[in-house]
């Protein structure tokens, strides 16, 4: 018995419950469609209500998203970033960002449409768009459009999944009247693209899944590929798209597992057939999306051909592919006996020395060598000039040898002004007892007993052996030869005895990335020297995949490094309860503010129904375990497979954030919120529509209704359906039971939905001034909106 039930469970994961097949198979032959066709006319008639609701909802979505979109005419929150990126695209200057390019390219496209040249760089929140002549309304219209389209998509998901009209309306309204969705999609941000593509993925997959009785048909392929395309749009916008892949992937895996089953109700698939199914899904859901994903990077590289702020993130080889890159333009080979100035890469201070000496005793009682000070100094000064000498006994007169300095060479550095040589030794530095002091010594000892102490090795980062050292582009570490410490500096300034200049010391940890220096200038080269003349530099090229892998690595590295804190960052646990929002924008004169916050009533409702769903599933599992079967098989199948899929979608878009170390914001919850709205609609129907009779008829319609669609569309359809063939084709798949039939049982559901709509509307309306940024609110009005101690401005 027990093994039997296990066996069942595997099969039960299939969306079509085990009891359906007879009907299904019966329905397949043309003749038996008749039974279903009897109901068709009614079904067709009952369609108008969905359509009407869909049109109204779409219209409302456009109104809510576009109303007052021009306000505020200033840079708001992260528009700073994404507006800037659009400008970079339009100016074709290379930039670096942790998100993939698709969403940003859309903005650039919009800017290009309206002829904007990208002159404004969105530097600060609150910069005026008017004064800077930015077509910001066009920019904002793009996400608003996608945000508006998200709402009918939600409606369609519910409709396609066979939920009743009120359920579909409730789910769509939770997104339609949600202040967070509205707020986030009216601004130049990526989330509108992300959420829309995510909802499209779910919709396409539902459509695809409904075609499962017609595998490899044209429509089947269409929806499979559309699912793939939508998925690739999600992941090409932000990497959280992985969660959408996971959601759809789990459903596909369960589906495939069912197809693999020999006891499959529709009959076993042969292994080659199964292989075809498998391969089709791999191509449609993995290969195609990945190629599209790569395509956006190709576009990205193709557009960004000029050097820009992102250069520093890339390797020199990459930078050489960008035109007018400073690094390659100013770079000159460094020769021995050149005098150079060296800059620390991280703090941008020059290696500096002056005639003053270290004090004998520091504040903490440690003693110094009292040698000449070597410090870091941020400004240009002749005391920054050092002559680079080869590793030999030095005759200062002999400067004939003009060999280039090479990687791993041992060099000596002569401070020109004081005529002393850079050295280090085993004396603790002023601030770091663990690090070595840097000082200088005179020629005699540099040639004599301190010969080794004045030797330094040049180690070029990622350099090849014997590679020439170049100014500006050659990043190197300067390693003290005998003691193997790296020349290093940091930001805390030395006391007054060193004129608050930076401390230079020897760092024992050679790996540290802050040990890097580069040659900034070579003042000793005469202006007319042939060394400065460069042949017309060719922009090099690099294979796409090499570029792609380099950028991909950099993105992952920097994504993980985004750990700094932000005043409005929040924790995942706060999101479903909507404990806190984000202040996007404020204006003191008018007391206006945009505070990014969901519709609390809608969110709390959705979150509590998620808990109810978990509770129902848990209770069902427990009672089944004790042999009590409180749900009929059909209701259960619906609850587990359809609503369960939405729940999985929510969990997959929410729970992984707990594992993330990076900075998180409320808007990361938006995809999960959309899924929770789906669960809410579905569950509302479950709770208020428990009339078994209604469900049964619903179910019969569902199971029979599916196949006629196939037969009607495939087999050319008889005259009876010919006129409205299209409609039948759609209605057939829609699991709709004539509304009139169910009216009796639907009163409760309609009433509940009406109640939900009313409170949701109230919540939406109450927080509107914070979402649209107008009108300004008085202190009492603000305080009235501080429901959960939301940290709103202008409360006083």
């Amino acid at each position: 018995m027990s093994s039997n039930s296990v066996r069942h469970r595997g099969g039960g994961k299939e969306k079509a419950p085990a009891t359906t097949p007879p009907q299904n198979r019966d329905a397949k032959p043309n003749g038996s469609v008749d039974g279903a066709l009897d109901k068709m006319p009614q079904v067709v008639k009952s369609e108008w209500d969905y359509k009407l609701a869909g049109v109204i909802i779409t219209a409302l979505a456009f109104v809510t998203r576009f109303w007052g979109i021009g306000h505020p005419n200033e840079v708001v929150f992260d528009e700073v970033h994404f507006g800037k990126f659009a400008s970079y695209y339009l100016q074709r200057t290379y930039f670096f960002d942790v998100h993939p390019p698709f969403g940003k390219l859309l903005f650039a496209l919009m800017g290009w449409f309206v002829g904007y040249d990208g002159h404004f760089h969105f530097d600060n929140i609150g910069d005026s768009y008017i004064a800077n002549k930015v077509p910001y309304v066009a920019f904002r219209a793009m996400p608003a459009l996608l945000g508006a389209l998200t709402v009918p998509t939600v409606f369609m998901i519910m409709w396609e999944s066979g939920y009743t009209l009120p359920a579909a309306i409730v789910a769509a309204s939770l997104v339609l009247f949600d202040n967070a969705h509205i707020g986030q999609t009216r601004l130049i941000l990526l989330d509108a693209t992300l959420v829309y593509a995510m909802s499209l993925s779910v919709l396409s997959y539902v459509k695809f899944y409904k075609m499962r009785h017609e595998p490899f048909s044209r429509k089947w392929w269409k929806w499979l590929l559309l699912t793939g395309v939508a998925l690739s749009c999600v992941i090409s916008t932000k990497y959280v798209g992985v969660f959408t892949f996971f959601t759809v992937g789990s459903a596909v895996a369960i589906d495939l597992w069912g197809l693999f089953d020999v006891d499959r109700p529709q009959g076993a698939l042969s292994l080659p057939d199964f292989g075809k199914h498998f391969a089709a899904r791999v191509i449609g859901l993995i290969v195609v999306p990945f190629l599209i994903y790569l395509f956006w990077f190709q576009v990205h590289f193709a557009i960004l051909t000029r050097s820009g702020p992102g250069d520093d993130f890339m390797t020199p080889a990459f930078q050489e592919t960008l035109s007018d890159n400073i690094m390659s333009a100013q770079s000159t080979g460094v020769n021995y006996y050149d005098s150079i100035s060296m800059k620390h890469k991280e703090t941008k201070t020059y290696l500096h020395s002056h005639a003053e000496r270290y004090p004998l005793r520091y504040d903490d009682g440690r003693v110094s060598s009292q040698g000449q000070q070597v410090t870091g100094y941020p400004f240009n000064d002749t005391n920054n000039y050092w002559q680079i000498m080869p590793q030999k006994v030095i005759d200062p007169m002999d400067t004939t040898e003009n060999e280039p300095v090479k990687n791993l060479d041992f060099v000596k550095l002569r401070h020109l002004v004081t005529d002393t040589y850079l050295m280090s030794h085993d004396v603790a530095s002023p601030y770091y007892p663990t690090n070595q002091e840097f000082s200088t010594t005179d020629l005699e000892s540099a040639n004599g007993d301190r010969f080794n102490d004045t030797l330094f090795q040049v180690m070029i980062e990622n350099g090849k052996t014997r590679q020439d050292l170049k100014s500006v582009s050659g990043h190197f570490k300067l390693i003290h030869a005998p003691s193997r410490v790296a020349m290093w500096t940091h930001t805390s300034p030395l006391p007054d005895w060193a004129f608050k200049q930076a401390e230079i010391n020897g760092n024992k940890n050679l790996q540290q990335s802050s040990n890097i220096w580069y040659v900034d200038e070579i003042p000793s080269i005469p202006a007319d020297s042939p060394r400065l003349v460069k042949e017309e530099r060719k922009v090099k090229s690099m294979p796409f995949l090499a570029k792609y892998f380099e950028l991909q690595r950099a993105i992952f590295f920097h994504n993980n490094a985004l750990t700094s804190s932000h005043p409005y960052a929040s924790q995942p646990v706060q999101w479903p309860f909507l404990l806190r929002g984000v202040s996007f924008w404020t204006q003191n004169d008018t007391r206006q503010q945009i505070y990014f916050l969901g519709n609390p009533i809608g969110w709390w409702l959705a979150s509590s129904l998620l808990a109810v769903f978990a509770g129902i599933i848990g209770a069902d599992q427990l009672s089944q375990r004790r042999g009590v079967d409180s749900l009929d098989e059909r209701t259960r199948s619906r609850l587990y497979n359809s609503t369960g899929f939405f729940f999985l979608c929510w969990a997959a878009h929410y729970l992984p954030f707990y594992l993330m170390g990076r900075q998180l914001f409320l808007h990361h919850y938006l995809p999960a919120h959309l899924a929770s709205a789906l669960v809410t609609g579905a569950l509302l129907e479950f709770i208020f529509n428990l009339d078994p009779e209604g469900l049964d008829s619903n179910f019969i319609a569902e199971s029979t209704g599916r196949s006629p669609s196939k037969s009607s569309s495939k087999k050319g359809a008889g005259p009876a359906v010919g006129v409205e063939g299209n409609q039948i084709d759609r209605t057939g798949k829609r699991v709709v039971v004539p509304a009139k039939q169910r009216m009796g049982s639907m009163v409760g559901l309609w009433a509940a939905s009406g109640g939900v709509l009313a409170v949701v509307l109230f919540g939406w309306y109450w927080f509107l001034p914070l979402t649209y940024g107008k009108p300004g609110l008085s202190a009492e009005q603000v305080i009235a909106r501080k429901w959960l101690a939301y940290d709103l401005h202008f409360a006083k």
Partner: protein
């Protein structure tokens, strides 16, 4: 030792019991995996009976003889030349030192629970060591310290792992050759042998992990005998074992999770068994809660109880504890001779009363962001930077040392002046560096320079000694400090600052008024004022449970601060992916020629074989699932059962011990893999057992040949790398031939 003998003794009993029961269960659900071997055993028995009885005796007493031999070998591998290196090696510097604290009975603080370190202390006590050695890393042991004995004590735990592994493999139903394989893999595992040879916690952690697994396996085998005395015994033993493993290191929680997962599944099955009577079901739940939650918790708390009992003197860890706790330590200056009531002009340290709270601290370093003024933090180390003067506010006349004393009382507005730098405790509307929602607290100005943002209002919350809130009393008064102009409260909420703040605890001014938030409660800990008479405020005891909670929260906070600094690359640290493939080893000491060198590296065949078997097991499960879905019912229920408990649970154990280190952000080292390795070894035992079953039926000799080859390989590799275990003397170039890969830094 005693406990191990006990387990052997009971092991023998269970062995006989098994033999008897096996025949019964053959028809039941658990038979066939055993069925095969036991049938063959019987066949074998018949001819041997007629001939000589000696092999039969050997066969019958294998369950005693084999572990005895293995254990003897284990003692050799773990103890041979154990005293060779007379310097403090690797983490002996930590754990030896903690052991010394028990001998000196000085209170110290560490991130690990106390049981393992108390055992180290016990070994020192038995060795007659007085606790005076500082255990500085690399330092030579003094004459009078019998470090060899202390190491022997530790290595005994490591050696006893071997028989435990033997019985565990038996309990998991492996056939004899596989049982031996598992045992030999544990026995000749170089990394286990090496790490067990020093004064470390790992041998104990491993031992208790092993015993927990054994108890769990035995308990599972007794499931058809529920509520029998033996069943209860093993339930209690499992509980005690869990308690011990968690009291050595918190890593033991992963082992607990394995038993927890098993119990959950077991109860879920029982819940679905409609034939089971409800009272039986309820008693099952209750016994599990009592045996697997209550008992471990009691063991864990008991270890802390002993810890507090032994450490009765003041020591380096005082500041982690509440002021009242400190006042009850011997030799502390907290509460001793401190004047009772605080007056203006008093110098005092302020202690945060939250769990794990430290002392209000400031130092000359400035905030790198925000106001860039002098940092104020909360810190557990006692130094002069924790001292603050109570000073009148700017509206009142300056403090005059000649004027009559004025006491600080509830609702007074005052200033706190940092005694080392002379700056005022200050807050302003600048957001704090980490907790951005709060205001930053800094030190600013001096007695004359400054503004009214230096003013704090004292709000007494409670006084343990008196109902009279008009005075602030040392130790007993808890009070909050409200910023007079901003209305926010001084708070230190166990959030660590970044490296620039030396990972000390952030101090903020919390805008919300939450009177119950203990992290805004402070008390005066040490108090100096020459003009006041000395008192003895420390006569109030702090309750055990409070101290216990306090210490555990403090441990957790310090654990969270152990995140790697990306700029400080540790030569010794390694990453999770390197462990299962044996990509790295670890140098346990300096690498000079005159030092006896130890290199922590596993036995390659054990590592690679066990890792491969994890994949093999995955493939095996996938294979049977796919076959099953295609309608082949190849496995008998008993075989499924065997895969489930003999294979699947060890793999789950491996996951539970391995995955946390993948996700964890802290610095990780090779020895973090060792508990997981044991489960991988068990998996290998299972996989070998499963795949040699056809061989067993066809040709027993071939089967033994396969196993013999493995035994020899395991031993030969151990022997090849023995120098790393027993200590390498002289020039490290001698072992160049062992450096199979560049990452094995055996030689330079």
């Amino acid at each position: 030792m005693a406990s191990s003998r006990a387990s052997q003794a009971s092991g023998s009993a269970q062995g006989e019991h098994d033999l008897r029961r096996r025949n019964v269960s053959e028809k039941g659900e658990n038979g066939s995996a055993l069925g095969g071997p036991s049938e063959v055993d019987k066949k074998k028995e018949i001819p041997t009976k007629n001939q000589t009885s000696f092999p039969k005796i050997l066969d019958d007493y294998e369950f005693l003889l084999a572990p005895l031999i293995f254990t003897a070998l284990a003692f050799f591998t773990r103890m041979y030349k154990i005293g060779l290196s007379d310097i403090v090696t690797w983490d002996e510097a930590h754990f030896g030192k903690f052991g010394s604290h028990y001998l000196k009975r000085e209170f110290y603080f560490d991130v690990h629970p106390p049981l393992g370190k108390m055992l180290v202390g016990l070994s020192g006590y038995m060795a007659g060591y007085n606790g005076s050695f500082e255990f500085k890393s690399g330092e030579k042991y003094p004459e009078e310290l019998n470090y060899t004995f202390m190491r022997l004590f530790n290595s005994a735990f490591g050696a006893m792992c071997v028989p435990v592994a033997y019985y565990t493999a038996r309990e998991l139903n492996f056939r004899r050759p596989a049982v031996w394989l598992v045992t030999l893999m544990v026995l000749f595992e170089n990394s286990y042998a090496t790490i067990s040879r020093f004064i470390l916690l790992d041998s104990m952690l491993l031992f208790f992990t092993f015993t927990t697994t054994l108890c769990w396996a035995r308990f599972h085998r007794l499931r058809h005998d529920s509520f029998s005395p033996e069943w209860f015994t093993w339930l209690v033993l499992t509980g005690i074992s869990i308690g011990c493993v968690c009291s050595v290191k918190w890593v033991g929680l992963f082992c607990t999770a394995l038993v927890g997962a098993y119990t959950a599944e077991d109860l879920w099955n029982k819940f679905g068994d409609l034939n089971m009577k409800k009272p039986t079901l309820i008693s099952h739940v209750i016994t599990r809660v009592a045996g697997l939650i209550v008992i471990p918790l009691l063991v864990y708390m008991f270890s802390f109880y002993i810890h507090f009992l032994v450490l009765e003197n003041s020591g380096p860890g005082d500041a982690q504890m509440s002021s009242l706790f400190q006042a009850n330590l011997k030799g502390t200056d907290v509460g001793k001779d401190s004047p009772l009531e605080v007056a203006y002009g008093s110098r005092a340290t302020l202690k945060n009363m939250g769990y794990g709270g430290g002392l209000l601290h400031s130092h000359i370093q400035t905030y790198p962001e925000g106001s860039q003024q002098q940092q104020v933090t909360c810190y557990h180390h006692k130094d002069a930077n924790n001292d603050w003067f109570f000073y009148p506010n700017r509206a009142d006349p300056l403090y005059d040392a000649e004027a009559p004393l004025k006491y600080v009382s509830n609702n007074h507005v005052l200033r706190l002046i940092h005694s080392q730098t002379g700056r005022n405790l200050h807050s302003h509307a600048v957001s704090a560096p980490v907790t951005k929602g709060d205001n930053e607290v800094s030190s600013y100005g001096n007695t004359t320079v400054g503004d009214d943002k230096d003013h704090w209002t004292v709000e007494v919350v409670d006084d343990a000694a008196s109902r009279d809130y008009s005075r602030i009393r040392t130790l007993t008064t808890s009070f909050r400090l409200r910023h007079t102009t901003l209305g926010c409260y001084l708070r230190a909420g166990n959030v660590n600052l970044p490296q620039w703040g030396f990972k000390q605890i952030e101090v903020t001014c919390a805008k919300e008024n939450k009177p119950k938030d203990v992290y805004t409660h402070w008390n005066v800990e040490s108090h100096w004022n020459e003009r006041l008479p000395a008192g003895d405020p420390g006569s109030y005891k702090s309750p055990f449970l409070r101290d216990f909670m306090h210490l555990n929260v403090a441990m957790m906070t310090s654990n969270n601060a152990l995140v790697p600094d990306p700029d400080k690359q540790d030569d010794l640290a390694s990453q999770f992916w390197q462990w299962p493939v044996l990509n790295v080893g670890l140098r346990m000491c300096g690498w000079d020629d005159h030092i006896v060198k130890y290199f922590l590296l596993g036995n390659p065949i054990v590592y690679w074989g066990s890792t491969a078997s994890l994949f093999t097991f995955g493939a095996l499960v996938a294979w049977y699932l796919v076959r099953w879905q295609r309608g082949y019912e190849e496995l008998k229920p008993s075989e499924i059962d065997y895969i489930h408990y003999g294979g699947f649970y060890p793999v789950v154990g491996w996951f539970l011990h391995y995955m946390p280190f993948v996700a964890m952000a802290r610095v990780t080292y090779v020895h973090h893999y060792y508990p997981a390795l044991y489960f991988a070894i068990l998996t290998m035992g299972f996989v070998m057992d499963w795949f040699t079953k056809p061989l067993h039926r066809k040709d027993k000799r071939l089967e033994w040949a396969v196993y013999a080859a493995l035994y020899v390989a395991v031993f030969a590799l151990f022997w090849t790398f023995r120098a790393m275990v027993f200590g390498m003397e002289g020039d490290n170039k001698q072992w160049r031939h062992l450096k199979w890969f560049d990452r094995w830094r055996i030689t330079d």
